[in-house]
Symmetry: C2
Subunit: 178 residues, 2 copies
């Protein structure tokens, strides 16, 4: 079985980026001397799934940062070749979450890092997220790209742990219970 | 000087009530054996300001729960008399936040509990909130009445403290720094 896992930062009012994709507000508030647990999180991950927005933002921010295979969910990109520099590191897919997770299961992929607002929302709606690590940044942006979106039913969560950092980040780990 | 203070619970996706005002999802997840600090918070409060939505919800939920004077901000209600049972406990006002706080300052009111999504938003936009205690309930509702709203500029916050409860609530105390 393949499970989805989210690890993502938001403003206190629930935005993962400004409307234009800007994440400087997040970078500015990151204290590199603090260990926010990304290393421990990614160590158990087999593959990363993200949307086109996140993929393009990552390309823009600098050198390719991932040492895990990345699958970009995008009907548009799936008609294009993967850039030469990223062959072997990135694949594009037009598949929907359920079909994608079935395919990954058949390939022996166990734990998938689900990244980006729209992709997290789509996977949550399909019940494909097992846990969420949400890091809340102490700022209100007023508007932006939301982490969460509309859903047909409540999603019940169980708090596994929560901790705060001197920088003011509050990180909570939730298990999805249905 | 009069300062505004928020103390409010939201779902993880930022809603304080469902679209129809329902807060059963919140009541169901409240563990009455846990002390979430409301008593300590209210002990320092001189007066409570809320909107019509919160006021009507409170009336609906049972006996009047407040032992502090309550001011309901509502142009509509301000044209009506206060219900007989609430005379001396409640007043209605059509004043806007800034004017209201000036008036309260001139009356020697120091600390105001600002309650309800729209009222918190309006006071935040005017820089009238000094601190926020946000209690996050472990559920995603998908839609509802949001705690936060659009703003013209970022609001920077400083995390004062954060704690979690066995029930799964995560409560963070923020100071508004501009």
């Amino acid at each position: 079985m393949t499970t989805g896992h989210a690890f993502i930062a938001t403003s206190l009012d629930g935005f993962i980026a400004r409307l234009d994709g800007d994440v400087n507000w997040l970078m500015e508030r990151d204290d590199p001397s603090e260990d926010h647990g990304y290393g421990d999180f990614i160590a158990d991950i087999d593959l990363i799934v993200m949307g086109r927005g996140t993929y393009e933002k990552v390309l823009e921010l600098g050198p390719w940062p991932y040492d895990r295979p990345v699958l970009v969910m995008s009907a548009k990109l799936s008609e294009e070749p993967v850039p030469a520099a990223l062959v072997g590191k990135v694949n594009f897919t037009s598949k929907q979450p359920m079909e994608l997770m079935s395919e990954l299961a058949s390939k022996g992929v166990h734990r998938v890092y689900v990244d980006g607002g729209r992709v997290v929302q789509a996977f949550l709606r399909e019940g494909l997220i097992r846990d969420l690590v949400i890091t809340v940044v102490p700022v209100l942006l007023g508007q932006g790209r939301p982490l969460f979106g509309e859903m047909e039913a409540d999603v019940d969560l169980k708090l596994v742990s929560s901790r705060s950092f001197p920088s003011g980040l509050v990180q909570s780990n939730y298990k999805v219970i249905g």
